[in-house]
């Protein structure tokens, strides 16, 4: 049996990981991500892409369950995820989304299971939680209807929103994807908000980058 994916090292989220207990991004649990608009779905899939890279490093594939799939597989390549190791499950109704997710979460050896979900009851989220407890698969619920948010057993509730990109030296054009990543709720951790950029195939904290830039500038001046 391969070890649970991504358990060995961090997932490359840098300062965000400090928000979790012991400073470790929890795997083998369910995360919840809020993405009511298409723009936010796109931004969230960027963050997810970065996370999946780390989770899939052990060789396990990823399942993506949805009713109305828009994800463009070639884009995942930009986040270092091999799109041909993602398996898309298109289901007809909400009930089947949760059924498929529960079945998939029971399957040892998967790196991650992502499901686009409108509504989930506390009891249903308990079932998902029980499923991952023995398989140690990491699950992500993409919540696309904020009116139906209830209490769940998810360990963390995320929200990703776009931030204007910045190109170095004020060059024209669109820069690296940059987001504000909010951890609205963390079990036994500290919620917070971070600015992240996906550059050179890894997450970089915007604050750290600014500091680094300042350092080089001061050095230049000095």
């Amino acid at each position: 049996m391969p070890p649970p994916a991504g358990a060995a090292k961090g997932v490359g989220l840098g300062p965000v990981e400090a928000a979790f207990p012991n400073g470790v991004f929890p795997t083998g649990v369910i995360h919840e991500m809020l993405c009511p608009t298409r723009e936010q779905q796109a931004a969230t899939s960027g963050l997810l892409g970065g996370l999946l890279t780390a989770l899939m490093r052990q060789g396990g594939p990823c399942l993506w369950i949805s009713r109305d799939r828009r994800l463009f597989p070639p884009a995942m390549d930009g986040f270092e995820v091999e799109p041909d190791r993602m398996i898309f499950i298109d289901v007809g109704n909400e009930k089947d989304v949760l059924w498929a997710m529960e079945e998939a979460l029971k399957c040892e050896g998967l790196a991650a299971v992502v499901a686009e979900v409108k509504e989930i009851s506390f009891a249903q989220s308990r079932r998902l939680q029980l499923a991952v407890e023995s398989s140690r698969v990491t699950g992500f619920l993409l919540r696309n209807d904020l009116r139906k948010l209830g209490a769940t057993t998810c360990v963390a509730r995320w929200q990703v929103t776009h931030l204007p990109s910045v190109l170095e030296d004020g060059m024209p054009g669109v820069g690296y994807p940059r987001w504000q990543v909010d951890l609205l709720r963390v079990r036994n951790g500290t919620p917070g908000s971070w600015k992240l950029e996906w550059a050179a195939n890894r997450f970089i904290s915007v604050e750290e980058r600014l500091e680094a830039l300042n350092l080089t500038e001061t050095r230049q001046v000095g």
């Binding site: 960027g46 963050l47 060789g59 594939p61 828009r70 070639p74 930009g78 399957c107 040892e108 204007p164």
Partner: protein, 502 residues
């Protein structure tokens, strides 16, 4: 060793009138006939037993019959009804044998080789069939013999025992009239004129003489009845090469019972498949109920398998949909699709390796596919095309490898609309990225944009205009993929939104 063939012929003496009586029970007490118009006359096509007792026979004019029995009930025949009824009865009889053929106009022929012992012997077997059919309301006679022709003859013309012991069919036939050979009425009439009243009277004659007088068909029928010539049956359900049957002595009514039946059938089939190095890709389970209904379930797998446990899990999901009603008498399992299993595949199956060849994953996907359909499970491989909609193609199997690499050169949006959506755009210069666009009523002021990426359709699809794609970012940092279809100077050029960037 070739198994000795045995056949049962069933004769429904009053097939149509029995059916009418079943539907209108008050007809039981009255003589009645079925008629059809023919050459300006109303001709009798069927008469019930009461009418026959008073001398009414098929082929008479209805008016003559009315003269004999004044209160005779007359009803219109339904064309094609007999064939339909026989088919239905044949389907019902599948519980007794898999090979059943309809013998128009009033019979069934069953190949029962190797079936009778399951019911405790030929006598019990035939008795069971006849009793059950009679209790359904059909006046049926049956006979068993080594050939279909002999069974047919004995069922209709036999006077003594209905079961002709193996090898005794020739003797049994000799005393029967020529009509027992299923001959053309014209031939029969000729034989009658010549004084051939029994089969015995012409078996000693030269074949050439018989052929000259009565034709080839006559000899064929004779040979078929005697067993010198094979008689191919047009069976209702051709037998699949991989089929398992499980008749139940007591009707099964519980889910546990159905589970045990499925496990038994799968176990038998998998043992056979494994010994032949094959695996199941699709299977159909049929359950024949006491009330005549047939229910079932089918499964499919992502790769050939002979693992009973795995295949059973696929059926397990569907057991709830199998309604046993009064009970299930017979289960059959057919392998609709069987494939060779290569040794490598089997090695993959047994290995504990992860990734796409993982055992657990295959089983999971089979399970999902059986509920939501195989078409709804996709994996994509890169395809040599710059056209965004064609840059990924569905993989045909889990094992299929990419033949090219994913193009990571130019940015691609995380979400791609299945159909590009029209947007209103303001551009300062026609060849520049737009300054703002309106999508779903919302104005997006473009703060940053990359230079255009021109994507041409492949040359064999040149009828379409090219697209100039722009990556743009609005004042909130939201990134979009816009394109202009066609050249900017072209009046027909249009702007579309095609995707959303992370």
């Amino acid at each position: 060793m070739i198994m000795k063939k045995r056949y049962v012929s069933l004769w429904f003496r009053h097939l149509l009138t029995d059916w009418f009586t079943l539907r209108q029970p008050d007809l039981k007490q009255a003589p009645f006939i079925l008629v059809t118009p023919e050459h300006n006359r109303i001709i009798i096509t069927a008469a019930n037993a009461l009418a026959e007792k008073q001398g009414i026979i098929v082929g008479m004019a209805a008016a003559d019959a009315k003269a004999v029995i004044p209160d005779l009930k007359v009803m219109d025949d339904i064309p094609g009804k007999a064939a339909k009824l026989l088919r239905g009865l044949g389907e019902w009889c599948i519980r007794y044998s898999p090979l059943i053929a309809v013998g128009l106009p009033d019979g069934l022929i069953m190949d029962i080789s190797g079936c009778a012992h399951l019911w405790g012997g030929e006598h019990e077997y035939l008795k069971e069939i006849i009793t059950r059919l009679r209790s359904k309301g059909y006046d049926v006679r049956g006979a068993m013999a080594d050939t279909a022709g002999a069974a047919w003859a004995v069922a209709r013309f036999g006077r003594n025992k209905p079961i002709i012991a193996p090898g005794m069919h020739t003797e049994a036939l000799l005393s029967l009239p020529p009509a027992a050979l299923r001959l053309d009425p014209l031939v029969l009439e000729r034989m009658h004129k010549l004084g051939f009243y029994t089969i015995k009277s012409f078996t000693g004659l030269k074949r050439s003489a018989l052929r000259r007088r009565f034709g080839n068909d006559f000899l064929l029928r004779l040979d078929q009845a005697l067993g010198n010539e094979d008689e191919p049956l047009e069976v209702l359900h051709p037998v699949m090469p991989y089929q398992e049957r499980l008749p139940c002595l007591e009707p099964i009514r519980t889910a546990e019972g159905i589970e045990i039946a499925i496990k038994t059938l799968l176990g038998n089939m998998c043992r056979r498949l494994q010994s032949e190095g094959k695996g199941l890709r699709a299977a159909i389970l049929r359950c024949y109920r006491v009330d005549g209904g047939v229910v079932g379930a089918d499964i499919g797998t992502n790769r050939p398998s002979y693992h009973t446990d795995h295949l059973f899990k696929l059926f397990e999901l569907k057991i709830a949909t199998i309604e046993p009603a009064l009970g299930i008498e017979l289960f059959t399992l057919e392998a609709a699709k069987v494939e060779e299993i290569s040794l490598e595949q089997e090695a993959l199956w047994l290995s504990e390796g992860g990734g796409l060849a993982d055992n657990n994953l295959i089983e999971l996907l089979d399970k999902l596919a059986n509920k939501i359909g195989t078409n709804n499970i996709c994996r994509y491989l890169p395809q040599e095309s710059y056209w965004p909609e064609r840059s990924a193609k569905p993989a045909r199997s889990l094992a299929e490898k990419a033949s090219t690499t994913w193009r990571s050169g130019s940015p691609r949006p995380s979400l791609l609309l299945k159909k590009p959506e029209r947007v209103e755009v303001t551009a300062l210069l026609p060849d520049n990225p737009p300054m703002l666009f309106i999508y779903k009523g919302e104005r997006h002021i473009i703060k940053k944009a990359d230079d255009a990426e021109r994507i041409e359709p492949e040359w064999w699809r040149r009828k379409r205009p090219h697209r100039d794609y722009y990556v743009v970012e609005d004042e909130q940092g939201r990134r979009y993929w816009l394109f202009r279809s066609g050249h900017y100077s072209d009046e027909q050029s249009q702007w579309y939104l095609h995707g959303f960037f992370a």
